[in-house]
C-alpha cells in the first residue's frame, strides 16, 4: 500500500523528482569532462614522454649498447649502426608512435635529436 502510494506520487509529479536530482548528474558529467576517457587527438605528448619513449625504442634495438644511448646520439656515427639499421629504427619509432612518416622524411631522420623533434612536432603522434 505504501509502495503504491509512493509510485503514484512519483508518477503524478515527475517534474519534482527531476528537479530534486538535477544537481547530481550534472556533477557526474563535469567529472567525465575532466577525465576524458575517450581517445582524443587534441591532447599532445609532452617532450619528456617523447624523449623517454624514443630512447626506449633505440635502447631496445638489438645491435645497440643501451648504456651509450642519450638524447643527442647519432645513430650511425655514435652507435655504430649502418644505414639499414637506421631504417629499421625509424620504422620501430613509427610503430611506437603510431605514425606514418613519408619515405623522404623518414630518410632524413638519422639521430635521436631529429627523431625527438620530428615526433614531438607531429600532430598525430600518440
Amino acid at each position: 500500500m505504501a509502495l503504491r502510494a509512493a509510485v503514484l506520487r512519483h508518477i503524478r509529479v515527475p517534474v519534482r523528482t527531476l528537479a530534486a536530482t538535477g544537481s547530481k548528474p550534472q556533477l557526474q558529467w563535469s567529472l567525465c569532462n575532466s577525465i576524458r576517457l575517450f581517445s582524443s587527438d587534441d591532447d599532445h605528448l609532452t617532450k619528456e614522454e617523447v624523449i623517454d619513449r624514443v630512447l626506449d625504442v633505440v635502447k631496445s634495438f638489438p645491435k645497440v649498447d643501451p648504456s651509450k644511448v642519450t638524447p643527442h646520439v647519432h645513430f650511425q656515427n655514435d652507435l655504430g649502426l649502418d644505414s639499414l639499421d637506421n631504417v629499421e629504427i625509424v620504422m620501430a619509432l613509427e610503430e611506437e608512435f603510431k605514425l606514418e612518416i613519408p619515405d623522404k622524411e623518414a630518410d632524413k631522420i638519422d639521430s635521436c635529436n631529429l627523431a625527438i623533434a620530428y615526433i614531438y612536432n607531429h600532430p598525430m603522434a600518440g
Partner: protein
Amino acid sequence: MSGATTAAYLARRAAQKERVRILYRRALKDTLNWAVHRHLFYRDASDLREKFEANKHVEDLDTIDRMIADGEATYNKWRHPDPYIVPWAPGGSKFTRNPVPPSGIEIAYDYGREDND
C-alpha cells in the same frame, strides 16, 4: 676535370644509397604487411636483410643500378594489395572521420543539458 668526375661519382653514389634505403624501408614495411604474426615477420625481415647484405660490397655503379632496379621490380611485383595504413593517414580507416575541430571552438560534453536543469 677529375674533380668534376669525382663529384659526379659521389652524387650518383649518394642517389643510389638513398634509393637503397627507401627500397629497404618499403620492402620492410611490405614484409610486415605479408606477415600474419610478429614472429613470422622477424624471420622474413632477417631474410630480407640478408638479401640486402649479400650485395653490400658491390662497387660497380652500373651493376648497382641494375640491382636496385631488379629489387624495385621485385618489390612492385610482390607488393601487398591491402597494406596496413595508419588509421588517420590517407587511405586509413579513420581518414577524415571525426576530424579535430578547429581551435577556439569549445565542445561541451553535457549532451544538451542546461545549467538550470
